[in-house]
Amino acid sequence: MSAEKRFEIFRLFFSILIALLVSFALIFLVSKQPVAAIMALITGPFKSGRNLANVVEAMIPLIFTGTGVCIMFAANQINLASEGAFHLGGLVAAAFALKLALPAGLAPAVCLILAAAAGALFTALPAILKIKTGASEMVASLMINYLSLWFCTFILMHFILDPAAGAASYSLPKTAKLLTLFSGTRIHFGLIIALVVAVLGHVFLYQSKMGYELRIAGSNKQFAEYSGIDIVKVILISQLVGGAVAGLGGGVEILSPIYSRFTWTSLLGYGWDAIVICTLAKKDPLKTPLAALFLAYLRTGASIMARTTDVTLEVVQITQGVIILLAVAEQFLSKTKHRIIAREAKAALQKEEAA
């Protein structure tokens, strides 16, 4: 491994460390029982099998949106619509699960495919708008996230609402639900789909022709043009694939044992989490499970902390924020980086001279 890459990893861990320290400091500031809170945050997930299972459950949606964002960002498109795609995917899967009475094996498959398709079309919208009118895909994607939210809420309230259950749909049929993998937990078949998606995402991005074109177009547009790559096509496909993955994630989440009805009436924030995952995974879908594990662990720890002490769950978002800030700050630790690289260059020189 080159000094450059080693340094990147070092910086990532250093950023995580600082972020955790900041969070601890905040906990000390707000809590009357800071030590208990920190202990709950750090060791809580280990305390019981159920807690560990919660970590795994929380990982699943993060892997999906993380992988989706990796693919969209690899084409250098700042499309933040994975948030809305996830939401829409959840609604589509739930709505079709309720409306189509399909047999057990088939129902989840059909619902998930439809969820993925909805997600794909959804995230392609900002890209199409950009290509046709030049409108910033970033701003457009921020707007359509809210359109997704209200559209989904509209469908919920007017088409699939169970009047007996408040703001929730009818119970999703058992036939459409994803299987539980381990009894006594809510770890479900979605985990396997998520891992497969992460692997396929990696293969797509790093081993397929399309992924290769996409990364070239993402890293230097003019070089792509000179190489004869159809940039418009590549951008569209990247947004379609990324959105499909995010939509699929929403579908998986709603059909998981965690939910029995569609109840989402506000944006869940998985799209923003995905950006943290993508940053931690360095745009490689294969590393998203690891990054998701980290975030899920933190989340689970935080919710245990929130249950058992006086600190709220939201401390995690601060940790995430600080991690992003530091992990992508090019100049952060740049002196150390320079030292490491210079040292390596010197060593190489000496080796050359000795030979």
Partner: protein
């Protein structure tokens, strides 16, 4: 005696970090109230000298005397405060602001908290009138023509009190009428006591307007001359020349069939300016056609059209007999065309992808390297390692990012990529610009090897050594046409070449550009 000079640059030496000697013992003296031409080919060291004068670069040795007083110029702001103004080739204007706002930017007249816009406009008008510039100072810069933009740049410098004006190829972007207008104004400035450094390649213009000329070649000064006392032929002789004669054991060319046929090719650039003018030529397998010429005479447009990056052109292009009008870039490349682009960083590679990933952008769809969907990653990795070895790319391994390599090694990666498709046609645009001697030598030998193997090569280069020593036929491009074409490259002298490059000579009948059947 020195008091007759407003500015003297004495024995300026500038060596860049990568060891390139850009200025070697260069001296330049300006008399008050003269238009002084700084003349030289691309890469002769004019820009470096002007950067030193304008405080952008610090010289390694040498002195600058302003009105006889030794001085150091630390920054462009420092230069401006000492009365030196520069009009860059690429205008430094803010498009959405008005002319007056551009002129006063950074030195705004104030009335309380606000800009005194009335005074700003009045001052801009006053200075425009003082120098007979007919400009609407309230117009937005984005809406005025190029010639007027240039006037705004000059006014900007004058407003800041410039006594010495550096104009970097001011006529390159102007129409003949605009050029005439500019010259009238420059004469007026001279009459007012301003001193002007006029950088240009155009000898007729220098004859028309300049008093004296300092000629540079290969980082050195070839002397300063009274323009009235030196002929354009002599100027071109001093300007164009080779320092070291490269020698290659070049076999005589073995010509094959015509690979590339170009007929009446006409190309306009995005602004609608004619850049390639009814150009026709043939290129056979086994030969290298060198194209020399001062930059901006249509070479880039020609190459971009031949490689289908530019799709709007008049005339016809055939590769191995097939019309390429309907071809995409990919389509042309699939006809086995290799293209070394002019600027390796902007279009030749993706700096943050690995060497391996940069090696196959033109051939990853080849069945040897990919199936229907997937790349054959193992084959690619093996092939990349082979190419790295074959092309002597200095790197830790093929997984290293291309951006981390030196210029020469990046160029080798590009060359490896373009040559590894076993091309029938190679279009090499400045293949050795700005890279170390070893890498340049390596790339030149490779070009010859491919030519010997029957490949047709177009070589566009600003390096005359290179075109002279590699070309089998040598064309000079001037204003979108071949002004000269030599089938016997060995017999061409540098003086001749210079005359064609600078438009002093022009052959109407170009025998040899097209092969008669």
């Amino acid at each position: 005696m020195s008091d007759q000079y407003v500015l003297q640059m004495q024995n300026i030496m500038k060596i860049y970090g990568n060891g390139v000697v850009a200025n070697e013992d260069v001296s330049l003296s300006l008399k008050k109230g003269e238009i002084h031409s700084l003349l030289g080919e691309n890469g002769a060291g004019k820009s470096t000298l002007m950067k030193v004068l304008f405080g952008i670069e610090t010289p390694d040795s040498g002195k600058i005397l302003l009105n006889g007083q030794e001085t150091t110029i630390k920054s462009p702001m420092d230069a401006i405060s000492k009365g030196i103004g520069m009009v860059h080739q690429h205008f430094m204007l803010v498009p959405s602001l008005t002319v007056a706002e551009n002129i006063i930017l950074g030195v705004e007249p104030k009335k309380g908290l606000f800009i005194d816009m009335k005074q700003a406009v009045a001052e801009a008008r006053r200075i425009a009138e003082q120098y007979n510039f007919d400009i609407d100072v309230t117009a937005k810069v984005e809406e005025i023509p190029v010639g007027v933009k240039q006037k705004v740049e000059i006014l900007k410098a004058l407003y800041r009190g410039a006594d010495i004006l550096i104009l970097d190829e001011p006529t390159a972007v102007l129409t003949p009428q605009e050029t005439d207008e500019l010259f009238v104004q420059l004469e007026k400035l001279r009459a007012d006591g301003h001193t002007i450094i006029f950088i240009s390649h155009k000898l007729d213009e220098i004859k028309r307007i300049c008093n004296r000329a300092t000629i540079m070649r290969n980082g050195r000064s070839m002397g300063t001359y009274e323009v009235s006392e030196i002929s354009t032929d002599d100027m071109s002789k001093l300007m164009v020349g080779r320092e070291v004669v490269l020698t290659f054991d070049k076999k005589p060319p073995v010509l094959k069939e015509v690979m590339l046929r170009v007929r009446d090719l006409t190309v306009h650039n995005a602004q609608g300016v004619l850049k390639v003018d009814r150009l026709s030529f043939d290129l056979k397998g086994g030969e290298i056609l060198g194209i020399a010429g001062v930059e901006g005479n249509g070479q880039s447009e020609l190459i971009n059209t031949l490689t289908a990056i530019n799709k709007s052109y008049g005339g016809e292009i055939f590769i191995k007999g097939a019309d390429i009008r309907q071809d995409s870039v990919k389509g042309v490349r699939e006809r086995k065309l290799g293209h070394i682009p002019e600027d390796r960083m902007t279009s030749g590679c993706a700096g943050n992808l690995s060497i391996r990933e940069n090696m196959f952008s033109n051939q990853y769809t080849d069945p040897a390297y990919s199936g229907k969907f997937l790349l054959k990653t193992k084959v690619l990795a093996r092939r990349a390692a082979e190419l790295v070895k074959e092309y002597l790319v200095k790197c830790k391994n093929p997984e290293q990012n291309v951006g981390m390599l030196s210029g020469g090694n990046i160029q080798k990666v590009i060359v490896a990529r373009e040559f590894s498709i076993s091309p029938d046609i190679i279009i090499a645009n400045q293949p050795t610009r700005g890279i170390d001697v070893g890498a340049a030598e390596f790339i030149r030998r490779r070009l010859l090897e491919y030519r010997d193997a029957g490949c047709a090569v177009i070589l566009v280069s600003a390096d005359l050594n290179e075109v002279f020593s590699l070309s089998d036929r040598l064309a000079v491009m001037y204003k979108g046409k071949f002004s000269g074409l030599f089938t016997d490259v060995g017999s061409v002298t540098e003086e001749q070449l210079g005359q064609y490059m600078l438009g002093l000579r022009h052959d109407e009948e170009l025998g040899g550009a097209i092969y008669e059947r």
